[in-house]
Amino acid sequence: MAVLEVRNLSHCYGAKTQMQVFAVKNVSLRVEAGELLGVIGHTGSGKSTLIQHFNGLLTPTSGEVLLDGENIFKDKATTHAARFRVGMCFQYPEYQLFEETVYKDISFGPRNMKLSDDEIDRRVRKAAQFVGLPDALLEKSPFDLSGGEKRRAAIAGVMAMEPEILVLDEPTAGLDPRGRDTILRLVEHYRTETGSTVILVSHSMEDIARMATKALVMNRGEAALYGTVDEVFSQGDKLVSMGLDVPAVTRIFLSLHDRGVPVRTDVYTNEQAAAEFRRLLGKEARA
């Protein structure tokens, strides 16, 4: 069964006024347990509005959100429970650090869940371990950490709630190449270790191509493309027409194709591109 199902979800800002705009229009999707869903779309495509329905922060104008088959808007208690079942980590989460120590900050979520002190402690330490923050840092003020460490502390705060689904909105924004790589690797490690479902919103097509099992492309509030990474990324020309940034590899092969080189344009990783170019040059046998 799908851990998360969205049925015909629409969200309208300023409903019943002359200013009404549909930020999300009739979106349906099913996310199976343990998947990594990549969500792509440029600013204003509706992706942030969409994900804020997954834990009940926003109520849909129409449509349903189901967690393990149960509509989270059924009653107040179910909506409230959804906050803990779907952990939401917003953009630049380090701006939301506020406690005296890193430990207290990470424990904020589990404490709100009214868990025992022992359980809170176990979760804080496990989450810190997942994001690679050593014990010595836990007693420091979060404001004394480096930028990358702050970001990881904030992500640990969401992981410590042990949500069934972890939603990360642009977790690598503003980081240097090494910092980006660290975050993506820890997310992948967390997913394989815990079997959790991860939803990753990213502007980086390269990151989505590398990590995701499925991809959702939002455009003008609609689910423009939705499928396996292969299905979505093989439609490079469509992505370009939506003004999206396709991986550099795809862009290069689209340009070759335009210039009359008989190459496939559905490549999006370096390895695929190399294999395709060798095929073109008639070098398959040399592998």
Binding site: A173, D245, R251, I252, R259, V261
Partner: protein, 284 residues
Amino acid sequence: MDTIIQLRNVSFAYETEEEKNLAVQGVDLDVRRGEFLAVVGHNGSGKSTLAKLFNAILLPTEGHVLVEGMDTSDEEKVYEIRRRVGMVFQNPDNQIVATIVEDDVAFGPENLGVPPAEIRARVDEALRAVGMYEYRLYEPHKLSGGQKQRVAVAGIIAMRTDCVIFDESTAMIDPKGRREVLETVRKLNRELGITVVFITHFMEEAALADRVVVMDSGTIAAEGTPAQIFADTALLQRTGLELPPAAQLARTLREHGVELPDETLTPEQCADALFRAAQKAGVV
């Protein structure tokens, strides 16, 4: 070549009560007039501190920064220096001061005491140069991140600045906005001869520069053309950098026995090189 900014043995330390943190140490660097210089380096390498030393936002604790011969430590020259060297910051929302786009662009020249008719002309010219003229009567908060950054750029060139420092100005905006900003910057550099110092985490942006400076632990670890810098695998490894995506593809292709020239750093260069390889093999 003519130098616009000279750094001579520049060090800078952030001091707190307990410790002294040397962010930049003994840096010597000349920014050449008219060049597009990229500065890269991992978080904490000192590149943003360096940026703030260029136009007297920070003053060196040791050594000298000279802007067209004027020392940034000379308080009386700060106005003149800022008029020549402007800066675009990381967060597009932190540098807009007015409620209408054209008022925001006029803010700089107004403060310089430029006559109103001249301001009008400069604002229009600056907004056209960054491709935001049609948006001159918009409210800035209704613009995208990339558009806001272009308005910030217009505000600087309306002051007739010779040099613009971009301190990770593309870090917080989406890929489309990033392309818009980068295209604008390249155009100003090529067509108006404005000197550009571009601090960035994105290697594909550094690949477009005339020259790249790599910062590491507060010092200059390397300096050279993008081709020279990105050919040095050990340097990239040591300083926590990576190849631009197109160069990564070129590397994979070379591993597969496809011969490509060294300078295959941008998608355009890579597509050209592959096109020629295909021609050579007689498949086009």
